[in-house]
């Protein structure tokens, strides 16, 4: 029965993906992509990746969808690109089919039983003081990747900002939103944030021992903030704002500071002394949370567009 569900899910996923790629109408493709993201969340659950499902739900269901919808509507006025020739289509189909076939052969050739690091994680997780293995990997065993991930996000934001017009520097990103203050959007933007705040902080807090964590929590908070921006209740901060910039780097710098502390107290950069491992992991997460929230939210409106509000 479960396999039947899996099979049905896979068929719908493939159909939606094909529609995303092949649809004529760009908006239809984006809408299908959002639906695809929702179903992908289910696939992660079936693969026992609850943390990934949470990430996918927050990113795929929330931020990416909003980003792409905004873009596709704005690009409606652009003249369409010349369609691909049938020669290109045929060759692309052959290339895609070959890729799939070779990869499928590789998947079938993967060793059985599969090699895994799970036992190694199980042996060492006690030292970290957290119970969620994913959090242990992300903030203890491979915390460098997490630090770099925060820096990747920062690079993307600086890169997006650098695309702005000189005349708008250092102004506010996005266009001014002026929804009617008593409209339905403003209503939604007033009742969802408190709930979202609770859920976001809860997902973050429970992440030490259960699925969840700073990243998923930050995504939820970012989405909520964007909602209030869309309703005109709040405005994006000026990119020149000193406090904004300080908040953007506080997370990674705090992370590095904890890492340096580790090199004195535990003998290696990013090491966590066993007795203080859990508090330090929480400290890193708390430092990263506001930074990630700000970056994730500000990646959507993009470069500064206006010098005044």
């Amino acid at each position: 029965m479960t396999l039947l569900f899996d099979a049905a899910l896979v068929v719908v996923l493939l159909g939606l993906a094909a529609w995303v790629v092949l649809a004529r109408n760009a908006f239809a493709a984006v809408a299908a992509f959002i639906a695809y993201g929702l179903l992908l969340t289910l696939a992660w659950l079936q693969l026992h990746g609850i943390d990934i499902a949470l990430t996918e739900a927050a990113i795929g269901g929330g931020l990416t969808g909003a980003l792409l919808i905004g873009a596709v509507i704005r690009l409606r006025t652009a003249p369409p690109a010349a369609p691909a020739t049938s020669m290109t289509l045929a060759l692309a189909a052959i290339a895609a089919a070959t890729t799939t076939a070779v990869l499928a052969a590789c998947v079938l050739a993967l060793p059985d039983p599969a090699p895994t690091l799970a036992p190694l994680v199980a042996d060492n997780i006690a030292v970290t003081g957290v119970e969620n293995a994913i959090t242990a990997v992300l903030l203890a065993f491979r915390s460098m990747d997490t630090l770099l991930e925060a820096i990747v996000l920062l690079f993307a934001l600086v890169g997006a900002w650098s695309l702005g017009a000189d005349s708008a520097w250092p102004g506010r990103p996005g266009f001014a939103q002026s929804a009617p203050p008593n409209g339905i959007l403003a209503y939604l933007a007033r009742i969802l944030p408190p709930i979202g705040l609770v859920i976001g902080v809860y997902i973050f807090w429970t992440g030490a021992d259960n699925p969840g964590g700073k990243f998923q929590g930050a995504t939820i908070l970012a989405a909520i903030w964007l909602l209030t921006m869309a309703a005109g209740l709040t405005d994006a901060p000026r990119v020149g704002s000193r406090w904004l910039r300080a908040a953007l780097v506080a997370g990674p710098l705090g992370f590095i500071a904890v890492g340096v502390f580790g090199s004195y107290s535990a003998g290696a950069f990013l090491a966590l002394p066993p007795e203080a491992a859990k508090p330090l992991i929480l400290a890193i997460e708390i430092a990263l949370m506001p930074t990630l929230t700000l970056i994730l939210a500000l990646l959507l409106p993009g470069p500064p567009q206006r010098t005044s509000s």
């Binding site: 290109t88 692309a92 290339a95 050739a109 060793p111 895994t116 770099l148 920062l154 290696a268 990013l270």
Partner: protein, 573 residues
């Protein structure tokens, strides 16, 4: 185990990142100052790392966790050498850009200068990460960092065509990273580790590893812009501001190239086959011919230099077939690898100097039409000298690094009995000579009246371009340093007949190519020139075709298939 000086690797990666973050907060003029401080400190770290690596390779286990659970940073000679080169080039570019990217007076902060200094540091930290990371996934993150830092550099001036170039670059690079990540996932599925050193012992030839090596290699080639995957390079490198072009052309492409080296030499040396190495070298040879000829056909100096970068990238791949050891059927660390590394170092320095000189010429004249370069040598002697020195260094004249590299590669070709690479190595220099000769003959032509310059160029910029070019020209002196561990007798008297003859042949070949292929005749017309010009137009058309998106992305898949097939057929498994 972590080595005593291993912390230097952490510092080398994090210092530029910290500098970038501090620069962002400080903002405005302070960003350039922070960058200057970081450059000084970073140079010291790079040299200190190189100094310690001479004694022993350095390792740092991040968080004290050993692979496969944790991530290790490692620096061998290869990584340390690249770190030093990058630090030197960054320093040169930093000096050069002081004037171009100064915050204008009366403004607290301007967009382009702030972005440039932040991105310069971002590129640096990402490159150091790529050099020292010992984990395939951390390397993936490093590659993405490098892309995200490189793309905005392309369109700093915000013009439509540079935005388009940046978008092409980003999309093609993302396609490349996707293939790389796919390879990393498959290899994890097969071996449950991503640590380079552990994989080196575990990896066995088989369908998974063939596919992995093919996918990762081609993905990285797309980011390196090796012919025929150079779709994004010419408009991106030619359209960016000169300092940014220097960063992109001299440094950013070296990151993904370095990873190909790591993969082929350190992660999967035993999976590589003779045929696959020949294909990689063959692409390099094709890049040299193709890039040089199309460079000769350009009307604008910056595009010429951009196409010459395609040729120079080709050089970097010639060492792969020469390092393949037929007896053991694996890639060997040896003279060929050293040669390739030297080539990367000399290209990085010379290419940066060349782009910087081209940028100065553009700024001074207000244009960079090659046909109208007359008189510029008198107006900007130092700049033209920098261009000439960089050109000579790229041609491989004694005692340049490229000369030394050529010597080492020729030796490797002779000892592995692959004579055809000898021909490529000798002939390639003539192609390089072609466009250098073309530019210099135009620039050295004198005009009846002195040129009216659009702006005065900065002395500091001129001399930093010259400095980097000279560094490249004098890199061959490294052979005399015993610590470099190079075979003795590589540098000989440049005026001895054995050395002089090839040099003269190279220059003569360059003249012949420039005379027959340049858009405007150098010495007059003739049937021979008409034939060559027609061929040149053919190359240009081929280039336009190859740089169309569908062609380039199809070429990517076809190349992946070709590599996979050659790895498969060459292995008796």
């Amino acid at each position: 185990m972590t080595t005593p000086s291993g912390w230097l690797l952490v510092a080398a990666v994090l210092l530029p990142f910290i500098g970038m973050m501090v620069g962002l907060v400080a903002g405005g003029r302070h960003a350039a100052r922070v960058a200057a401080l970081v450059i000084v400190a970073g140079l010291a770290i790079a040299f200190a790392t190189a100094r310690t690596v001479l004694d022993a390779s350095q390792v740092y286990l991040l968080g004290g966790w050993a692979p496969p659970l944790g991530v290790a940073l490692r620096a061998d000679g290869l990584a340390a050498a690249m770190m030093v080169v990058v630090a030197a080039v960054i320093a040169g570019i930093g000096l050069y850009a002081r004037r171009d990217f100064a915050t204008p007076p009366g403004v607290t902060e301007a967009r382009a200068p702030l972005a440039f200094w932040l991105l310069l540091l971002a590129v640096w930290g990402s490159l150091n990460l790529v050099f020292v990371s010992g984990d395939l996934f951390t390397l993936y993150v490093g590659l993405e960092l490098l892309t995200f830092a490189g793309v905005p550099l392309v369109c700093l001036d915000g013009r439509g065509e540079t935005l388009r170039a940046a978008l092409r670059y980003l999309l093609f690079a993302l396609l490349g990273s996707l293939l790389y990540l796919l390879g990393a996932v498959l290899i994890y599925g097969a071996y449950a580790t991503l640590d380079i050193e552990m994989l080196a012992h575990l990896v066995q030839p088989g369908i998974v590893t063939w596919t992995v090596l093919a996918l990762m290699t081609v993905g990285l080639l797309a980011k390196t812009a090796l012919f025929p995957l150079h779709i994004w390079l010419p408009p991106a490198h030619a359209g960016a501001p000169a300092a940014a072009s220097a960063v992109l052309s001299a440094l950013v492409v070296k990151g993904s190239w370095f990873l190909v080296v790591r993969l082929w030499f350190d992660v999967m040396p035993a999976v590589v086959t003779f045929d696959a190495a020949q294909l990689l070298g063959g692409l390099g040879a094709a890049a040299i011919v193709f890039g040089s000829i199309v460079a000769l056909r350009q009307k604008r100096l910056k595009l010429l230099v951009a196409y010459s970068t395609i040729a120079q990238i080709g050089y970097l791949f010639l060492m792969f077939p020469l390092a393949f050891d037929i007896a053991t059927g694996a890639m060997l660390h040896g003279d060929a690898l050293t040669g390739g590394l030297l080539q990367a170092a000399s290209h990085a320095t010379a290419k940066a100097g060349m782009f910087m000189a081209a940028g100065l010429i553009y700024a001074a004249l207000g244009h960079d039409r090659i046909a109208d370069l007359g008189g510029v040598a008198r107006a900007l002697p130092v700049t033209v000298l920098a261009f000439a020195v960089a050109g000579l260094a790229l041609m491989g004249l004694v005692p340049s690094g490229a000369y030394l590299a050529k010597k080492l590669l020729l030796g490797a070709a002779a000892s592995s009995e692959q004579w055809w690479w000898t021909a490529v190595l000798q002939g390639g220099a003539a192609f390089t000579a072609g466009y250098v000769v073309l530019v210099l003959t135009r620039a050295l032509r004198s005009l009846p009246a002195p040129l009216q310059l659009a702006t005065k160029v900065s002395r500091l910029s001129e001399f930093s371009a010259l400095g980097l070019a000279l560094l490249s020209l004098l890199l061959g002196v490294a052979a005399v340093v015993p610590a470099a561990g190079l075979p003795a007798g590589l540098i000989s008297n440049p005026l001895a007949p054995k050395e002089l003859l090839p040099t003269l042949l190279v220059v003569a070949g360059g003249f012949a190519l420039a005379a027959t292929l340049a858009r405007r005749p150098l010495f007059g017309d003739g049937p021979w020139r008409r034939l060559m010009t027609a061929a040149g137009t053919g190359f240009e058309n081929a280039d336009a075709l190859l740089r169309r998106w569908p062609t380039a992305s199809l070429a990517l898949i076809i190349l992946a298939a070709a590599f996979g097939w050659l790895l498969h057929t060459g292995n008796p498994a």
